[in-house]
Amino acid sequence: MNLRPARALLVAGLLALTACGDATGDRPAAVSSDWPSVLKAARGQTVNWYMYGGDEALNSFVSRTLATKLKPYGVSVNQVKITDTVDAINKVLAEKQAGRNHGGSVDLIWVNGENFATGKQAGLWQCGYDLPNAKYVDSTNPAVTSDFGVPVDGCESVWQQAHSALVYDSSKLAASDVSSVTALFAWATAHPGRFTYPAPPDFTGSMAVRTFLYDTAGGPSAFPGPTVAAAYGPASARLWQRLLTLAPSLWRKGQTYPVSQADVEKLYGQGEIDAYLTYGPGAVAQQVSKGVFPSSTREAVFRSGNIANDSFVAIPANAAHQAAALVVANQLLDPATQLALFKANGAYPAIDLARLPAAERQQFQAVDLGPSVLPLSELTAHVQPELAAAYVTRIEADWKTHVLQR
């Protein structure tokens, strides 16, 4: 399959062709930057929020805590659980392709990275809105103004931070086994079949491969710029070699890979594997308390660092309930909501804690999620930024060619 940016360009081109056939040229209603009128329009609306549904703690947060906070505004949320954000993007694109320029079925999407890039290229997003709570966000922070190298340009609103980490069973792996990627691979070779990662283009699988790449190449500084640099060639060749050497020691001897992160977590819970990489280390606490994961579950961060990114919510331009979606996006930035989210599943707040009064800041710092979850200080000590979207799509395609199909 082609690279995603190229495909998105094709789609954008085809959409331009639809414009000639569109007699009435219906445009979405302009969003008012006058907040009181937005609130007025939002009253009584239900937001169809398309988001990854595999995190029970998050689902609970949305349907309970967030719903309660939105009630005073007369807005309710219908959480549409999806397994892959690209499904929601495809849906909005399909609606555009079919000529549905307003009254769309998707009001809000939890999105970042290449999915945001695809949407931006195809002109899917509502842009340039002002949220009152945006004052809590540090607008100089590149993690907020640029999403996997693509400028945000006001087309999405930041929501939470994700820090990756390795989750492992401490009764099977020692602390030394998880200190670096090399140590982990050595452990995996000594204990064949007990480690794996989901096949890219799964979001977490892609992250796993990028983590290994950072370790192989010495860090993301080797891959600058929005397009794929020359240094990528030799570095990636070394990476594929390393992964191919590792493959026979993986689950199912590396002949097949789990198709999604949910599958990987299922394998871990069932005791088929002993370690996995995740973007959501905070959610592990709930699985341990439910008994799905063993109580000896612990987390670790490699010496070479862990990848972190911000995730956002974006509003499609053809959304049926734009005003209500804006209210939800604004509510997500509210400090009390961010604190509740942090407590619910360890999602590190996206707002700038320095902009809060001291008492509120302390509430964040006082949250304790239990022994199975790494404290924030450790999670954020060796943070590495994401690569540009172009690298991500290239790595996913190359992994398929060089590792899966070998």
């Binding site: 309970r64 549409v80 079919a98 549905r100 999604s260 949910a262 299922k266 871990y268 799905v292």
Partner: protein
């Protein structure tokens, strides 16, 4: 002979059928069940609690599935009974062609047939709606109703209708008091099949419902793909209970009638 014939054969049969239910039931109540335990190390009711929890959307899914199922049943029976009558009672040119057309959707996979229509459903606002889902589920349901009813009508002696008409009954009275009661066993089975097809449908609901129309199979698929087998198993049990209950009712209703024409009433 009073003892059970072929006890070994029957045992194998029952074992084969019942074995897959075992992990399903056990997992629904398993709090902690790590490999290699043969039974859960710890029990829990959180699977059951999940069903009532609004976050899980299971009750919502139950209502959606039931509503769509009822609509598909009613519509496919309304459409399939007359068609079955035409095919069963009348000889006419082109009958085998019509029969082929009406039965074909039972054979040709629904997803293959309807994949090309999704764009149209999207454009005309039927995608992501229950109405759209009901419409596509009619495609696999109508053939079964038609087939069953055409077989039943073929075995139905139309003289009973003529006699009733001769005795002065109006056409609708004939249908209501003579024909339909006589066909009640077949009608019950046909309606049950239509409901079952709708209740179990996944791919078509996904295609046209777009993930917005959340029937139980859609919810179950999401849970089945997730990391928690306890929740998935609990939802799975919820999905089986209504069709099994209905099946018990249908079987009881059928064996009571014994296939008579019901004329004993008059």
């Amino acid at each position: 002979m009073n003892r059970l014939r072929h006890p070994v054969g029957v045992a194998i049969l029952l074992l084969g059928v019942l074995t897959p239910f075992v992990p399903l039931v056990l997992w629904s109540f398993a709090g902690r069940w790590r490999y290699p335990g043969l039974v859960p190390q710890q029990g829990t009711l959180r699977g059951v609690r999940l069903l009532a929890d609004p976050t899980s959307q299971v009750l919502q899914g139950l209502a959606t599935s039931a509503t769509i199922g009822a609509a598909v049943t009613v519509l496919s029976v309304a459409v399939g009974v007359p068609a079955g009558r035409a095919l069963g009672l009348y000889e006419f040119r082109g009958r085998s062609l019509v029969r082929l057309l009406l039965v074909a959707p039972a054979l040709v996979p629904g997803l293959a047939v309807l994949l090309g229509t999704q764009v149209f459903f999207l454009r005309y606002g039927l995608a992501d709606t229950r109405a759209g889902v009901v419409l596509v589920q009619l495609v696999p349901a109508i053939p079964y109703v038609t087939l069953i009813m055409s077989g039943a009508y073929a075995n139905f002696d139309v003289d009973y209708e003529r006699q009733a008409a001769l005795l002065g009954a109006r056409p609708w009275q004939v249908q209501l008091h003579v024909t339909l009661p006589a066909l009640r066993p077949a009608l019950t089975v046909a309606a049950y099949f239509a409901f079952l097809i709708s209740w179990s449908e996944y791919a078509l609901t996904l295609l046209i419902g777009g993930g917005t129309v959340k029937t139980l199979p859609l919810l179950l698929f999401a849970y089945a793909g997730g990391p928690d087998p306890t929740e998935a198993a609990a939802v799975a049990l919820t999905v089986i209970v209504p069709p099994l209950l209905l099946m018990a009712l249908v079987v009881r209703g059928l064996s009571g009638r014994g296939g008579t024409l019901g004329l004993a009433r008059s």
